[in-house]
Amino acid sequence: MAEVHLWSGLRSLADGQEVVEVEGQTVGQVLDGLVAAHPGLEPAIKRGVSVAVDGQVVPGNRTHPVAPDSEVFLLQKLAGG
Amino acid sequence: MNYHTPETFEDAAAIAARAAGTTRFLAGGTDVLVQLRSDLVTPDDLIDIKHIPAAKAITRTGDGGWRIGAAVSGAEMTENAALCADWPGLVEGMDLIGSTQVQGRATLVGNLCNGSPAADGVPGLIAAGCTVTVIGPKGSREVAVEEIPAGPGKTSLAKGEVITGVTIPARGQHGGDAYLRFIPRTEMDIAVVGCAVNLRLDGDTVTEARVVLGAVAPTVRLVPEAGEAILGTTLEAAALDRLAEAASAACQPIDDKRGTIEFRTHVAGVLARRAAKIAHARAKGGTA
């Protein structure tokens, strides 16, 4: 089970939880698992999020591996100027 | 748009008098072309005066003054060392307009005829007591520069009238002038406040003074009270305070994108004080 940290604006969409435990070996599986557990998160994830796995931001890369003890953070998506 | 290239001012005036629609005279074009490009003014007749030989000349007058043709560029004035030595303030007002590129084209008369209260070239002319020669359907007349501006973008010139050039009086002994303006950057801005001061001294004492403010009223404004405030003084602190107060008191500015009423009113006093000191030093023979 990976621990996924939500930014506080998302917590109301996930029954107030700050950290959600989700099964998944990849970023894609983790995101799908999140939506399955908390359907309220779907619009936020659909709008686009960045995912940080163990400190490394891996935007748009659903195949990036997630280990059972990985620390996963959802972040707002950003690009730049 | 019809483009005309008359070779005399009389012809230029005649074309303008005949024209039915919007007419503009073209000298440096630094205002006319901007208005054309931004669709503010598209003249039906554009009269280029640069083919008139007298328009391009800087000459000395018989009494030791100067005559600046209507199509003389700022750069040509700045490059005339004798003119700069006589009237550094008048020339620096012109020189402050726009970039080096604009200086290659912009003219003193154009700056006057554009009618902007913020025109950098105009306060120095009024402070120096200059006149312009106007040719029109009724012949020629000599008019004090301060009588030309009539409000933002407006002049007192009648249809068919054209200014042929500026007459600057002889500098004379113990005189000095200066022009300062305030802009947010160091270059390329329109004056938020401008101030020209022209002095004559007897020893250290001011015997003649003309103070002119720009960008603080609907037209460039001669402020006699400000001149009077320093007459008979040596620009000691109290005199400069009175000058600044008189300058600020003469302001009737507006709030706009370039400055506030409060700011313009205050800075008019600051610039008057600073310009007076420079003019004083120049009248004493300094090169400040």
Binding site: G9, L75, A79, G81 | G259, F263
Partner: protein
């Protein structure tokens, strides 16, 4: 062939050769967006709303269409219905539908046989408007009773009870704020505003578009990202992306403003309607300022607590931003990065994205970060001043470093904030004596950087020279950087590498040159594609020598046996392999496609000295120092150039650049005369120090450097003005009238 971690010894990286496009650019040969004329082409012009907010009742083009030389007019009716999300926003911004949403919003476009006829025809198109109440200020737009710009534009995130102009809401944080503030010896809370600033690229938007009735077409355009142009244009026009081939011109500056479309879909729509004739469109400067994206304006409240010995105990911020009449103000980034410089246990951020009657904001260099930095670094400076703490030492005490948990969640990898602070402290500028009315300001800033979709190809020519094809337009010399990286990877001379920016038909998808990603991502892709190529080159040598490919290594532009066991062969140079490639297996090229992770942020610290005229409020920059972490500087001269350019854009934003709207909601300063970007005589030399803390996520350690530099100037200069005048000014720009009013105000 893969390299293990960042290299440390280089032959080409870190040198400063002439850029490959230099000759074209100093001789006037380089072709930018407007520098193309083709036979039979038409010229387009746009009719724009003079109202800040108005219902469009009727558009009558009869007179225009009757003019000699006028070939087509398009309005929103010529674009497909049914778009949603950002595609709808883009379409609506390119061409107004039911309402004009800001001064300058396009409502119709015309194509004619000359630019003058097109301009005259645009003036002849009659539009009937019903003016509506408008709002251009962010706080006013959120207030009760503000005119509603678009009902229903808010997304799921906005809490109940907000004004309909609030369209997105962000909240993040950790810890217990109250506990954190209670631990502080001093807590300061202040409110701040920043005005919108424009990217101010000198080259206006320009394109030449051609499209037939079959939806196939071509475009020449100045852009940071031609695949974006293709995707957005196709979406707006309802055509297929591959039907459109987009070729990027040289680009005359972008800074984020050329990552989206404005006139591009209009030129295609006009062309389609004019029988497929190409249509050239070039914006005027007035159009650029009125109708392309400036950045957002912001209103912010920031509160920070600190102990007497300089430890930040807690921080909170509320950030309200308007990004024009569409969702998209970068307040998400603002909230994320607001306190990102520091290690803070208790932290909380709230952000509001608000609609207003202004042009749709576009990205501008570190979008969202400079505003937050202005607020947070000003409060930190005030805390330091009140407690007599040194601003650099205090920042060092709290600085994020490797392993610090960022205020937005994850732990930082290797980063260089501490190194920039130490270098700034050691620099002579930090110790130069100051005179009366002078002051020194310090601030740090951060940008996270970006990877993004990236494709690159490397091909070996018959003579052994190397062609690199990338998809990120070169704005500031990146072709030189790519050539250096390819030269390093292959071990061939810099001059033997040619880098091309490919059109959309010649390479896989690429995101724009944005997010400080070009040198990182296209550079990484170039290196990986080169390695792919080298594998193939080694194989050719191995085949010729009759040994295993694994027994061949690549060194200094030659294939070599990997050791004595591999056999005794003289090194085989790339030119020799290339000369025979036709007979040894065919052309040799390498490819790489990815959305690379591994980017890492760049921190910077700026030190500025100013002098303020106490009688006029005018601020002069006396000295300016930029210290920033580049990871590894590929071409140091262009890295310095990014530092200097970013700093000067920040100086402009701080001192004199602003969007000025009148009571009528119209932009009052739509030209370079009154939109005052810094000129040469406003500035001193901009001193730079390049810090290099290698990024382990890039083969050569590169971090993007483009954006960070605009973040610290806003607070650094405000902090310097605070020292020079004794006044803390919390609204930007620091225009002279504002500074003078503060000086003359007897209060604190």
């Amino acid at each position: 062939m893969a390299l293990d971690g960042p290299k440390t010894a280089y032959k080409y990286i870190g040198t400063t050769p002439d850029r490959p496009d230099g000759l074209d650019k100093v001789t006037g040969r380089a072709r930018y967006g407007a520098d193309i004329n083709v036979p039979g082409m038409l010229h387009g012009a746009v009719v724009r709303s003079p109202h800040a907010h108005a219902r469009i009742l009727k558009i009558d083009a009869t007179k225009a269409l009757a003019m000699e030389g006028v070939k087509a007019v398009v309005t929103r009716a010529d674009f497909p219905d049914g778009l949603d999300g950002e595609d709808w926003n883009l379409q609506e911004n390119c061409m107004a539908g039911e309402k004009a949403l800001y001064d300058g919003h396009a409502v119709a476009a015309v194509a004619a046989t000359s630019p003058l006829i097109a301009r005259d025809a645009a003036k002849a198109i009659v539009v009937d408007y019903e003016p509506l109440p408008h709002v251009t200020d962010v706080d006013a737009a959120m207030a009760e009773g503000a005119p509603v710009i678009r009902d229903g534009a808010a997304d799921f995130s906005v809490p109940e009870g907000m004004h309909p102009n609030v369209v997105r809401y962000f909240e993040s944080g950790r810890g217990e704020l109250e506990k954190g503030f209670a631990e502080a010896d001093l807590v300061i809370e202040k409110s701040f505003t920043t005005e919108a600033a424009h990217q101010g690229y000198i080259e206006p938007q320009a394109c030449l578009g051609q499209m037939g009735a079959d939806g196939r077409g071509e475009m020449w355009v100045t852009t940071q990202g031609h695949w974006f142009v293709r995707r957005m244009s196709a979406a707006i026009l309802g055509t297929e992306a591959t039907g459109l081939r987009v070729t990027p011109s040289e680009i005359g500056g972008g800074f984020g403003g050329k990552t989206t479309v404005f006139i591009e879909p209009l030129s295609l729509a006009l062309s389609r309607k004019a029988g497929g004739k190409p249509v050239k469109m070039v914006m005027t400067r007035g159009e650029v300022l009125r109708a392309t994206g400036p950045t957002a304006s912001a209103s912010m409240d920031v509160k920070m607590g600190i102990t007497k010995d300089g430890r930040i105990t807690a921080a909170s911020g509320t950030f309200r931003m308007q990004g024009g009449a569409f969702p998209g103000a970068p307040v998400d980034v603002t909230t994320m990065l607001a306190f990102g410089n520091y290690d803070i246990e208790h932290v909380h951020q709230v952000g509001y994205d608000v609609l207003a009657n202004r042009p749709k904001q576009a990205a501008y260099r570190a979008p969202g970060a400079p505003m937050a930095a202005f607020a947070t670094e000003s409060v930190l400076d005030e805390l330091c001043r009140k407690l007599g703490l040194d601003p650099i030492d205090t920042r060092l005490k709290n600085a994020a470093r490797e392993g610090t948990r960022a205020t937005f969640g994850p732990k930082y990898g290797p980063i260089g904030l501490v190194e920039t602070l130490e270098a700034a402290k050691a620099h002579a500028n930090y110790h130069a004596p100051l005179g009366p009315n002078q002051g020194r300001g310090v601030a740090s800033g951060y940008w996270m950087n970006h990877g993004g979709e990236t494709s690159a190809s490397v091909a070996i020519s018959e003579d052994g020279t190397v062609t690199v094809s990338i998809g990120t337009p070169d704005i500031g010399g990146s072709r030189a950087s790519m050539a250096l990286m390819a030269a390093e990877a292959f071990g061939v001379a810099y001059e033997n590498v040619r880098v091309n920016i490919s059109d959309t038909g010649a390479l896989g998808v690429n995101e724009p040159t944005h997010g400080s990603r070009a040198t990182f991502a296209s550079g990484l892709a170039t290196i990986r594609a080169a390695e792919d190529c080298i594998t193939k080159l080694c194989k050719r040598a191995a085949d010729k020598w009759g040994i295993d490919a694994e027994a061949v290594t690549w060194e200094d532009g030659c294939a070599k046996p990997s050791g004595p066991n591999a056999g005794e062969f003289p090194p085989m140079p790339i030119a020799e392999i290339a000369a025979e490639m036709g007979e040894t297996g065919g052309p040799i090229s390498g490819h790489f496609e990815d959305t690379p992770a591994g980017f890492s942020g760049s921190f910077g610290t700026h030190v500025v000295d100013v002098e303020v005229d106490p009688e006029t409020g005018r601020t002069t920059i006396l000295r300016y120092l930029v210290v920033q972490d580049a990871g590894k500087a590929i071409h140091p001269a262009y890295v310095e150039g990014q530092f200097q350019g970013g700093a000067v854009q920040g100086i402009g934003w701080t001192l004199n650049e602003e969007y000025i709207y009148g009571q009528d909601g119209r932009l009052q300063n739509a030209g370079f005369l009154d939109y005052r970007v810094p000129v040469a005589s406003d500035l001193p030399m901009i001193d730079t120090v390049i810090v290099e803390v290698p990024n382990p996520g890039h083969p050569y350690g590169v971090r993007g450097v483009g954006e960070t530099g605009i973040t610290p100037p806003l607070p650094a200069i405000a902090n310097a003005v605070r020292e020079a005048t004794g006044k803390r000014i919390t609204d930007l720009p620091l225009r002279p009238s504002r500074v003078l009013a503060a000086i003359r105000d007897k209060g604190d």
